[in-house]
Symmetry: C2
Subunit: 410 residues, 2 copies
Amino acid sequence: MPQTLSRVDGDRVLADLHALRAIGAYKTGVHKPTFSEPHMRSLRWLADQLPDAGLDATIDGIGNVLGSSSRPGPKLLAGSHLESQNYAGWLDGPLGVIYALEAARVINCDPDVHGAVEVAAWCDEEGHFGHFLGSRSWVGALTEADIDAARDRSSGRTMREALRDVGLAGRPRLTVERGRHIGYLEAHIEQGDRLERSALAIGVVTSIVGIWQYRISFTGEQNHAGTTRMAIRKDAGLALARFCVAIDDRFPALCGPRTVWTTGRITLDPGAPSIIPGLAEMLFQIRDDDPAVIEGLEQTLRTMAAEVTAQGRCSVTVERLRTGTPAGMNAGFQDAIEAASVAFAGGRSMRMPSAAGHDAQILSTVMPAGMLFVPSIGGISHHVLENTCDADIVTGAQVFVETCRRLLEE
Amino acid sequence: MPQTLSRVDGDRVLADLHALRAIGAYKTGVHKPTFSEPHMRSLRWLADQLPDAGLDATIDGIGNVLGSSSRPGPKLLAGSHLESQNYAGWLDGPLGVIYALEAARVINCDPDVHGAVEVAAWCDEEGHFGHFLGSRSWVGALTEADIDAARDRSSGRTMREALRDVGLAGRPRLTVERGRHIGYLEAHIEQGDRLERSALAIGVVTSIVGIWQYRISFTGEQNHAGTTRMAIRKDAGLALARFCVAIDDRFPALCGPRTVWTTGRITLDPGAPSIIPGLAEMLFQIRDDDPAVIEGLEQTLRTMAAEVTAQGRCSVTVERLRTGTPAGMNAGFQDAIEAASVAFAGGRSMRMPSAAGHDAQILSTVMPAGMLFVPSIGGISHHVLENTCDADIVTGAQVFVETCRRLLEE
């Protein structure tokens, strides 16, 4: 009777997710940037729920919410994040937090289970102020100088100001207690369409791909958009457009089966309609779980840049801003998720890498870590249309809680 | 002895240009946006010089500086503008103003000349707040509602606020007095390299080309830059890049000999490195002196947009923001400039259209208008490196003053 073992309350899970959706609602999604009023309200909402799951709640000096148990026995840490991208979806983050909360509610009061699930909501996974600031703080990888330097990418407000404004400045930052946890488990929406296309319910994450990020800069010659003949122009913006198209033409022959690349931002300088841009810049990202593939693509970028520069009209530089190392998920955790999927999802699971970054990659540097995915309708995410059907949400919760139980029992 | 007839003081012209260059100096150029402190200081500097040229100075309610003469006889209006593009060159505008000032100094005190040169510095030719607001105000083509709606394109400050801040709010706006002037003459740097390439000193402007401006918008689907497979992406930014390249590939076969086109600004939305842009937008300009050429190119743009939309991945719309009608320069003015070039520049002149917009196109709607160009080194303009050699500046001044004299004597 696996259903009776889990005692997951699907209606409660859905009600909690909708409660968080109502805080900072925007169209069909939410707008909860880190340290915004609705984000802070979401943190307090979570802290208020934790005692019913047998947990003592703390909001620490970086905005992490942590629920700790005084129950004897092994502890499993579980969670995700509560802030959102700007004007984005309602499940990205909250799903994993509510699954963790549900697991704690079910397991921490169960006299048949030895140990407890502890809950975490990591601050700023979405990177408004930096990369994984909350989870990096907790694993001890964030210095005070890092915090001094962090700024909101939209408003430019410093993290120090934000922490002061929301009343967190001066609070201690909690950090990992070595040996306390048997590991970390996180659930998330897939944010892609592989599960949906395969009619599966659960993704067993094998690794979290690395993200390599580049600034590609083009230098031409700023000039008058009326008087400068086409033949003598050194248009940095046009060079950039040609570069984007060349990437898209060349990469498919060189990439791996799951490589993705994106130009997310373009800036022309000075950006006036009557001036030929003398400078242009693009932020470019490549993601893959095989560093060798990335190395080949980066070499191609640099070769292309040298080719354009050699033509003499515009010079191109490629600067790597971020180097991502793929994070492997623990094999025992993968097996536990798969076994729980057999019990609660009819075995409708597949193993897959995560093409998105998640706090689990940070946690994996200090303890075994695992992740499970539920399907995203149409593969849409980082958008107000992001959604997962109720049945998949509930199935995911059952598999998640069962995974927690199996890991604690091992 | 043409030199003795003109009595142009080349050192005085250069000293005046350098005096204006020192106000708001930035690197080798200037930064004098409309209604900035250095712009206002430049207006007052000019107003202070006008009495020595026999002119009464007024700064009016839109920021035009006008010097009027009480001398009997025909009046020729001459001038240009004093504000600059942001972080741009020192001669774009001031050259024509100082030539006009020099012409007034030479001619208005000459007992052998009947009539006078009156001087104008038109406000905001560079379009910080709109299109030719100063000269349009003077010819009666600017309403109070136009001023209400005008905003600084960089800061967003309204024109009303700016006028109040600089103390011009409430002053009357001066307007054209029908029949007072025989016409308008303006000198300007060429901002292109045709004179330099031909080793000529003077460009006799035949017409000022029209500027057609478009907003081209791309709608795809915003999504996650890690989890969305390349095959299903609807990347609005990539569609924009391909469109830019397609324009550059197709237009050369369809354009006229002097057509130019420019993408001056690109915006991706939301503009985050980890999000596939769902919207993208470019500001696109075409300039030519033949409206039929423009019409063909605009039709090509619309056909290309329909083709991309029909492919089903992203939809493209083309919106015309600005329709430019070419302005013909007066034939008698062209002849006078050419004759003055024979006298003072060894006949080293050529007739040419202006590919840049100038206040003369606005003045040409109410009186005969003419323009002359001096060479730009390397064709560079709208850039701090903009320059003209001293000898060409002085030759231009001599030709300009001689042209004024000939026009007044006709």
